[in-house]
């Protein structure tokens, strides 16, 4: 569409250029034509003047005034010879002499309305005198006089002295006729230019209307901020690396509507939007995201981490201090703000906005009138539970400090190691090991999670290659649904085709299955086509659903640890485990017992005929697989 618009512009300006070029060329042609006609006429006048002068010199000896004054017949004869030349082009032909006072007077007049002999004629003396003295013809432009175009002056030289001047006046009719002949062509250009001007005016008006309508479509009518339409456009073109995302929400806004009415609510929204607009900078972008929610993209330079946080605090304080007046009532409001400081870490802008919304939710949960950003929130949690920030995980990945531990899984009856479960760990700079619970959550929706999955897969395949042993990895169903991670798994399987049958994929997060089971099944089948086995982790807890046996190609069922760890004490656990094992046997699915933490539990597992077992009693996760 954009190219089509460009094409229209090119065509329009090409036509305009062509017409202008044609107009200039026509004007030039007109000038050349005029000049040529003028040249021809002057040449003709020159010939006539020369002939007249020759004729005069033939009849006049020395003093034309005296000779012509006395010889009326000669005068008439010479005038009649001038009359022959007189026509529409040469309007007046006459001969003047210069008297002793320097005035010019008629000797001969070839015009129809004749002047008297010796009658004085007021002329441009300066020019006529120059012809007299220089004895050279002169072309005098007569545009100042009505009806005359040019006067051609030719000196009559007798005995090397200028005795008179022949004047031939050109009528204005000729250039007028040329102009009249060309006028229709000029008119065509005038009409074309008028039409183009009109067209341009219409285009300008249309553009104005289009811009106006465009502005209306992307502006929220109440707050005059951008709306979601604009946001959709913005997300297509924005470089998210250059922004931090701020999600603002007016606390207890429903109370304002309920207590003071919707008009008051609208007033509060408008004024809040105004405050937001004044507190942010021109390069920031304010969008009304929902009812009382505003989304702000804060432009940052050189990855300033605290910029959005500082602006958010300023906004929060300003709103808190502002008295909103509506119909003599004073309303106080506060804002809760959530911030995504590093949107570049997220898989998509939508995820980054979602994260800002999650931070906003935390701000609400923590008592409202608060600003929560990724940095501040994580810092708080670190104090409580030692959680890693996105940057720390990223740094660990770059420094190859994301590693795998391997926990053996035993064949229950023989108690021989059958396979291993790969468990991701973060090795701190001091060498200590951090479990996944401390770093996975923060990176879950970011691109770092993809890199982390890739690292784990590569590490597992490296060990498979080295040891030729089965290793299972943990994935979520959402990972299978994620196009990037799914493709990453397929790529890894492609490049390790021969080792793929040693791999087992353990899946969690069953809740998403109901809507997407077909796609999951299709993708799992594809993974299985490499010889990979599919295991369901933590079965028997949470969202465990028996329909998954129909929907999915399951090879192994890992019974949830909460059932296994109580086998020796809880009858219910035993019965549930027993039924799961029975069901699995019937379906031809192998079973694995997790959390085998004591001899008693192992005995129960054996008794229940569970195929495989793992747990601290048998073996703890270890950094390397024994030879």
């Amino acid at each position: 569409m954009r190219y089509l618009t460009k094409l229209y512009y090119i065509i329009f300006f090409s036509i305009l250029f062509a017409i202008t070029y044609l107009f200039i060329q026509t004007s030039k042609t007109q000038t050349v034509l005029n000049n040529n006609v003028e040249k021809i006429i002057i040449q003709e006048a020159e010939t006539f003047a020369k002939n007249i002068a020759t004729n005069l010199k033939k009849h006049l000896k020395n003093d034309p005034y005296t000779e012509l004054k006395t010889d009326k017949t000669l005068r008439q004869h010479l005038e009649s010879s001038l009359e022959i030349i007189n026509n529409e082009t040469f309007k007046y032909i006459f001969v003047l002499y210069k008297d002793n006072h320097g005035n010019y007077r008629f000797l001969l007049d070839g015009s129809k309305e004749k002047a008297f002999f010796n009658q004085r004629l007021n002329v441009d003396k300066e020019v006529w005198d120059s012809v007299y003295t220089e004895k050279k013809p002169h072309i005098l432009d007569q545009n100042k006089l009505d009806g005359l175009w040019i006067t051609y002056l030719y000196p009559v030289i007798i005995n090397n002295k200028t005795k008179a001047i022949i004047a031939i006046d050109f009528s204005k009719e000729l250039p007028k006729n040329i102009y009249t002949a060309i006028e229709p062509l000029n008119n065509i250009f005038s009409y074309i230019f008028i039409a183009i001007t009109f067209l341009i005016l219409i285009l300008i008006y249309q553009t104005f209307l289009s811009l106006k309508s465009k502005k209306e479509s992307i502006t929220d009518p109440l707050t005059q901020t951008y709306n979601r339409n604009y946001m959709r456009e913005l997300l297509q073109k924005i470089n998210i690396d250059a922004y931090q995302i701020m999600m603002c929400d007016i606390d207890y806004f429903k109370h304002i509507n309920d207590n003071y009415g919707h008009k008051a609510g609208d007033e509060v929204l408008t004024k809040t939007a105004h405050i937001l607009n004044t507190e942010i900078r021109p390069e920031d972008i304010l969008i009304r995201f929902g009812g009382e929610e505003f989304l702000i993209f804060i432009k940052r330079h050189k990855k300033q981490d605290n910029l959005a946080y500082n602006i958010a605090q300023r906004i929060r304080k300003k709103v808190e201090e502002t008295h909103f007046n509506y119909e003599d009532k004073e309303i106080h409001i506060t804002l809760s703000i959530g911030i995504t400081c590093q949107p570049e870490h997220f898989k998509s802008i939508a995820e980054a906005i979602k994260h800002a919304d999650e931070m906003l939710y935390i701000a609400k949960r923590e008592g409202r009138n608060t600003v929560v950003s990724t940095t501040t929130h994580t810092t708080k949690k670190v104090q409580k539970s030692d959680k890693k920030t996105i940057n720390e995980v990223k740094e660990a990945l770059e420094e190859k400090r994301i590693i795998c531990y391997f926990q053996p899984i035993f064949e229950t009856q023989s108690q021989k190691i059958l396979k291993y479960e790969a468990l991701v760990r973060l090795r701190e700079k001091d060498g200590s090991i951090t479990p996944p619970a401390a770093f996975l959550e923060n990176v879950m929706y970011t691109n770092i999670y993809n890199d982390l999955t890739k690292t784990v897969l590569e590490s597992v395949f490296e060990h498979i290659q080295k040891r030729q042993v089965s290793i299972s990895i943990n994935l979520n169903f959402s990972d299978i649904l994620d196009n990037t991670i799914y493709q990453l798994i397929i790529d890894e399987l492609q490049s390790h085709k021969s080792d793929a049958p040693w791999l087992i994929v353990e899946l969690l997060e069953y809740e998403i299955l109901s809507e997407t089971s077909e796609l999951v099944k299709e993708r799992l089948m594809k993974i299985k086509s490499f010889g990979v086995k599919i295991a369901i982790d933590d079965f028997g807890s949470g969202y465990s659903n028996y329909t998954m046996f129909q929907a999915l190609p399951i090879d192994i069922l890992k019974i949830d640890g909460s059932l296994i760890k109580d086998l020796d004490r809880s009858k219910t656990s035993r019965i549930l485990t027993e039924s799961i094992v029975l069901l699995a046997k019937e379906l031809g699915i192998r079973t694995v017992a997790e959390f085998v933490h004591s001899k008693e539990i192992l005995e129960e597992v054996k008794r229940l005929n569970i195929d495989e077992a793992q747990g601290f009693y048998l073996a703890k996760p270890q950094a390397e697989i024994d030879a």
Binding site: K91, A115, F116, R120, L121, N122, L145, D169
Partner: protein
Amino acid sequence: MKKFLFALLLITTTLFASNLQTEEKIYALIIHTLLPDNQKIKVWGDTPHNKEILQNITDLQLVESPKDANFLLLDNNSSIETNALIFVTNYKILEKMQKSAIGGFFWQKGRPNILFLRKNLQKKNIQLPKSMQDFVEDEI
């Protein structure tokens, strides 16, 4: 300088105005030059055209009878006995009335021509400014 200005007036008026407007301006100049001291100049013309010209000139009072006028603009030969200044619009008439007319203004070969007759100027004791002396003729 004045001569130049007068010539300029002749040229520019002919360039930018119609012949009638040009004539009005020239006559206004001539009349105010010939009758500089008169507060209210009474004028008369013998043709509708001349009357129209005189009527359009400011500060002039067009009168019904030539006897009441102190400036006459004539297009025809006339034997009116008057002390008024007579100005004609035709060379032939000027020739015929060269004893009484003070001068004339007419178009000759598309050019505006002014003539003043020296004898009559002297009779009326009129001293023309230098800018107009170039148009004075001893006889025609």
